[in-house]
């Protein structure tokens, strides 16, 4: 939305919606800089991939933004129509590649729902452990890059050091580190390896002091506070209206977490808190995510302690042919609500798969969050939205 004056009805409506942001009259000359339109990206160190943001600037002030996406479009949803349900499973890992486990979980559970089967409890527990570990890894990567965007270099290396431990566990479990393809429709393919629990417990003891270390560097740092407090504020109403989910929504004070709201996998068995913020600014999103890391640790500890014995795979037909019908299933991915809408025509291949990626929806909030802010805030807000372009573009 570069020029809010275009009489396009859609834009007009959006402008009406955003009218409380008091967009100034575009000025006439270069001096008043309405001509300063900057392409931030697609090659830019701080757009987390190949996002292109067209910024309209008045000096340093942002008058408007437009996100140009699609540079990483691989047609994941279309590919699904030409693959069997099983064959499509690895593809979902490539969407949000920093939280591949969550993607797989969402897809597998959606197909399971379509098939009307349920994974055995042990599989569900393994799923919870791995997903929460992955949430931790995703948040750590977010923290490192976010801090780097704001100019603090060091947390990046700390978080990568600790994320490495998680990736090691993944590697030992399923052989892959990033795009894990950990789950199968109907459960898990692999039994936990010898010493899995020991490794996880060791990690659980290892990581809390490290989280304190990140917080020590940032939480009370004056510059960090100034850079994040009251930056990229999104109100509760706006957040709900834009369909924002995940930590971004919770930082605005909405206690909405699918793990509690519509428990999936084995989440109903665990006791954990949903951290929420109050102001909906970048700092709140930061604190919410930091707290979420700790809550994840809590969940993992409970899961490891309570993990039941038993099979890890439900009885799944050799050829997966779901009945005709459609299903929407969503999970709480690290970035927000990750939903799969699958239409089955009764054949071995889905008729249509539509993914509701949290990053894509959250990215919408960028414009409303940065209007009237400064260029540096755009960077901070892109960082705080925690987008992964693989997921935005699919």
């Amino acid at each position: 939305m570069v020029d809010p004056k275009t009489p396009d009805p859609k834009t007009a409506e959006a402008t009406k919606y955003l009218s409380h942001l008091e967009l100034g009259e575009p000025d006439k000359t270069f001096l008043d800089s309405n001509e300063l339109v900057i392409n931030m990206g697609p090659q830019h160190p701080a757009t987390h991939g190949v996002l292109r943001v067209i910024l309209k600037l008045d000096g340093e002030q942002v008058l408007g933004t437009e996100c140009v996406i699609g540079y990483l479009h691989r047609g994941v949803e279309k590919i699904a129509e030409n693959r069997t349900y099983t064959m499509f499973n690895p593809y979902v890992d490539r969407m949000d590649y920093v939280a591949a486990v969550s993607n797989g979980l969402g897809y597998c559970e959606a197909v399971e729902k379509l098939l009307n089967i349920e994974a055995p409890p042990r599989a569900k527990y393994i799923r919870v452990i791995l997903t929460e570990l992955n949430r931790l890894a995703s948040h750590q990567l977010w923290l490192g890059t976010h801090a780097l965007d704001i100019g603090a270099m060091t947390p990046l290396f700390y978080t990568f050091r600790d994320r490495e431990e998680i990736l090691k566990i993944f590697e030992k479990y399923c052989g892959a580190r990033l795009t894990t393809h950990a789950f199968r429709i109907g459960g898990c393919q692999y039994e936990t390896y010898e010493g899995f629990e020991r490794d996880v417990i060791k990690f659980l003891d290892f990581v809390p002091p490290k989280i304190d270390e990140y917080e020590e560097l940032l939480t009370t740092n004056r510059i960090w506070l100034e850079r994040t407090k009251n930056v990229g504020v999104i109100s509760r109403a706006d957040a709900i209206a834009l369909g924002v989910t995940g930590p971004v929504l919770r930082a605005s004070g909405v206690k909405w977490d699918l793990r509690k709201a519509q428990p999936y996998a084995a989440y109903s068995d665990f006791d954990f808190e949903i951290p929420i913020g109050t102001n909906g600014d970048t700092y709140d999103r930061y604190t919410v995510r930091m707290e979420e890391m700790r809550q994840s640790l809590r969940i993992i500890r409970q899961a490891v302690e309570k993990i039941p014995e038993g099979p890890i795979m439900a009885k799944v037909p050799k050829v997966i042919k779901p009945p005709v019908g459609e299903i929407y299933h969503s999970i709480e991915a690290p970035k927000g609500e990750l939903g799969y809408f699958i239409v089955s025509d009764g054949s071995t291949q889905p008729y249509r798969v539509r993914v509701r990626p949290p990053s894509f929806v959250n990215l919408q909030a960028l414009d409303i969050m940065v209007r009237g802010a400064l260029v540096a805030d755009v960077i901070a807000v892109i960082g705080t939205l925690d987008i992964v372009l693989g997921e935005v573009d699919r």
Binding site: D27, T29, F30, L31, D32
Partner: protein, 177 residues
């Protein structure tokens, strides 16, 4: 700790440096008024100002030279460059650079120059060659004493002038106050 005696700085190769610096000053002056691009003009002016600071040093006026560098080259010229960057001057560079009356203006200036020449030729003996240079070591102190003593009132007026200039510049340049 032995006390270090500070003799006045000895000038070195005065004649050479005088011609070098004054040549630089004049060449950059010519460049200032002939360049098309204001940035080039500003660059030339900066070099001229620095060369002139050198001339001040040769005239045993180190404080004025320092003020020249810090205020003129470091302050005023940055202001100029700042404005040149803000104001889009591409159009004006394509236009005619000299106004219609440039011949008249040039002649008038030359006439003024001729007047100077006459004055200098006639009054040559007013300016003796060898003057005992003022002691360089306490130049700054002396200027300071004069500024805060004899010229106290003028100094205050100057500060008032600067205040007025600040307000004036803000009023002029601000879009909406």
């Amino acid at each position: 700790m032995q006390q270090i005696v500070q003799p006045g700085m000895q000038p070195v190769a005065t004649t050479f440096f005088f011609y070098l610096l004054s040549g630089l000053t004049l060449v950059s002056g010519v460049l200032v008024i002939t360049r098309k691009s204001p940035v080039h003009s500003a660059l030339a002016l900066i070099f001229g100002l620095l060369a002139q600071a050198g001339l001040y040093l040769m005239l045993y006026a180190p404080f004025v030279a320092g003020v020249q560098i810090i205020l003129y080259a470091g302050g005023i010229m940055v202001l100029f460059l700042f404005v040149i960057m803000l104001v889009n001057l591409e159009r004006s560079q394509k236009e005619e650079q000299f106004n219609r009356q440039w011949v008249v203006g040039f002649l008038a200036a030359i006439a003024l120059g001729a007047l100077f020449v006459v004055v200098y030729v006639k009054g040559k003996k007013l300016f003796p060659y060898h003057i005992a240079p003022p002691l360089e070591n306490n130049n700054t102190q002396q200027i300071g004493l004069m500024l805060y003593g004899q010229y106290m009132f003028a100094f205050e007026i100057a500060s008032l002038l600067l205040l007025v200039a600040i307000i004036g510049a803000v009023v002029m340049a601000k879009k909406r106050i």
